[in-house]
């Protein structure tokens, strides 16, 4: 008699499972860098994610949210370890974050093998957009090559004939120079890669730039190292002699520290804080009210992740086991982005515009980036054809 009862209760328990899962919380693992020279980036991403959660009442599809923040220390091995911990012992429903392409690529197999729905909010490695694309992984950011490619396009129109390239020696650094060369028609007179992330003194490289006498310089130095590069560029007396263009280097996080050193410097970006759509206005003004500073593009992409996840969880009525349903909904990009015309490509990387932006000193004495024009409309990354997903 006991046996059938046991069996019966087991069946009951199984039947009750989906109902119970509807009551649970949505667990999100958030991996970013919260220490060292790039901690400002991680903090901005966390702030924006928290603000996004505030804006949806701290619920995704009606379910309460629990976020676990983990620091990757800019190290691929640490990032992988934290990712595995989030998947295996915290049993998170979603992974969000990742600044660094090399950290993200190291963690990618763990995400894909465990079929954890993931939203990458910055790292734009070419591999993720190409043959390593995955049904479970979405990006709300960009593919690395796109920004330098847009800058290259713009520099052609300025009639610049020769350029010196500099970037850190890691995955994204290579993507940056590849992207730049894909559109720039002039001559590359020099190309330097520096040790990442520990080399912060660029004296030898700056001397090379001076000797090479290029028309312009293009660099990629995100976070604190970017501040160091711009400062040393000025200390070397090169500012004002050779125009400096950059990607991911002068942003809303480094600008308050660079101040006049960065004024006038131009770059390309898919988001600028002055984009005039309503979602963006609300994001920027609420962010300023809450954190007393401007958000950066890192934050904007992370803010979008909340709306994307909210839409996905709503579409499946909170059934987080229905990954297929969530994937289909996410592919539609049915949420209000801080960027206009946001769509996903077949590789789950956005199709979006890239704008020309310039650092300026505003009338109130603060510094911010301003949109000047649209360089490319509805830009698709160069790797989407290598992605087997349709």
């Amino acid at each position: 008699m006991i046996r059938p009862m046991l069996l019966g209760s087991a069946v009951l328990a199984l039947v009750a499972m989906p109902a119970m899962s509807q009551q649970k919380t949505v667990k999100i693992g958030f991996v970013s860098s919260f220490s060292g020279p790039v901690a400002v980036i991680g903090n901005d991403m966390r702030n924006s994610f928290e603000l996004g959660l505030d804006h949806v009442g701290r619920k995704l599809g009606g379910l309460p949210v629990e976020v676990i923040y983990e620091d990757d220390e800019i190290k691929p091995d640490v990032g992988l370890q934290k990712t595995q911990k989030l998947i295996q012992s915290d049993h998170v429903d979603f992974l969000v974050g990742y600044i660094w392409s090399n950290v993200m690529l190291a963690s990618l197999p763990a995400m894909v093998d465990s079929k954890t729905m993931t939203v990458i909010t910055n790292a734009g490695a070419s591999q993720l957009a190409g043959d390593q694309c995955s049904p479970y992984v979405f990006s709300t950011s960009f593919q690395n090559d796109q920004v330098p490619a847009a800058v290259g396009t713009y520099m052609n129109t300025k009639g610049i004939k020769s350029v010196f390239l500099m970037a850190p020696n890691y995955t994204a650094g290579k993507d940056m120079t590849t992207g730049f060369k894909s559109t720039f028609k002039g001559q590359i007179v020099g190309e330097e890669y520096t040790r990442w992330p520990d080399q912060l003194d660029f004296s030898a490289e700056l001397s090379k730039i001076r000797a090479a006498k290029p028309d312009a310089v293009y660099v990629f130095y995100p976070g604190g190292p970017g501040v160091q590069f711009m400062t040393q560029y000025a200390q070397a007396g090169l500012k004002g002699q050779i125009p400096l263009y950059s990607g991911f280097t002068v942003d809303d996080l480094s600008l308050p520290r660079l101040k006049d050193l960065a004024v006038g410097s131009q770059s390309a970006m898919m988001w600028v804080s002055d984009l005039p759509n309503d979602t963006n206005k609300k994001f920027v003004s609420d962010y300023k009210a809450k954190y007393k500073t401007l958000p950066s593009f890192y934050g904007a992409d992370t803010y979008d992740a909340v709306a994307l996840l909210n839409d996905a969880v709503t579409a499946v009525n909170g059934d987080l086991t229905n990954k297929e349903g969530m994937r289909k909904e996410m592919e539609k990009a049915n949420f209000k982005s801080v960027r206009d015309g946001f769509k996903f490509n077949n590789n789950h990387v956005p199709i979006q515009n890239f704008y020309l932006e310039e650092a300026r000193k505003d009338d109130d004495g603060s510094y911010s980036l301003h949109t000047l024009s649209t360089i490319v409309k509805d830009d698709q990354d160069a790797y989407h054809t290598q992605c087997p997903m349709k």
Binding site: A39, S203, T231
Partner: protein, 305 residues
Amino acid sequence: MLYFIEQCLNGVQLGMLLFLLAAGLTLIFGIMDLVNLAHGSLYMLGAYFAATFAEATDSFVIGAILALAATFVSGVVLEIIAIRPLYGRNHLDHVLGTFGILIFFNDLVRLIWGPAGMTLSLPSEMLNAVQVIPGIYYPVYRLVIIAVSLAVGALLYFTVMRTRLGMLIRAGASNREMVGALGINIKLLYTLVFGLGAALAGFAGLMQAPILMVQIGMGENILILAFVVIIIGGVGSIRGAFVASILVGLIDTIGRAFVPDMLRSVLNASGASTLGPALASMLIYVLMAGILVFRPEGLFPAATR
């Protein structure tokens, strides 16, 4: 040729900075027989103090002077509280103890200043380059580093070789008990030497701060270089530290400047750009290994100091 001279200047500048750090390290090791892994923490403290004081007083120079004093005091306090129990023990205990201090300081800085790091900005007149010799422009601030470090090096040499304090320091290094027996307060002497080493490290940190970021763990990478310097120069020798610092600075910079280009002529471009920086940063360790094999006591052994 002009380009080569400019790269040499870069090398000398890096070397000067290494010398400030290595001089303190070699003094402490040579005189007190203490392996001090926490030396990099004092370098970091110097930079943090300078950034804080410069922000408060709105002056780079005043900030630097205050920071120097603050690092000296920190060094003295650290010696009294944590380093004294380590004297007379073996080197492994020193390594373990000072490694603990290093971790302690990293977290202390995180608690006080936060994880984000700071920047120390220069007065605007130093934000430029001047013509050193016709055709060569060099950043003013880096020239200041070279000049000030040379002055500090000269002062240090004079103090150790020509003053009564220096005589006591040298005597303490050769025979600790005898100096004590002659009525010299050897404990106080050690505290002073440690404080001096700390101030030198802090000075290196604050001079480097406007070029690099002020951040947690900033002393660890450069401490490795400083150890390479004292191994090459000969442990305990200030003259050795000076020569080896410039040697290491030059090799590191010239390696970075020329190795990738040289590789590009034999390898394809992408291979060279990957291998180049890696190979260039290995050069100084190759030199150190060579020294250890052929001249294990270093270029200027302490006996001839």
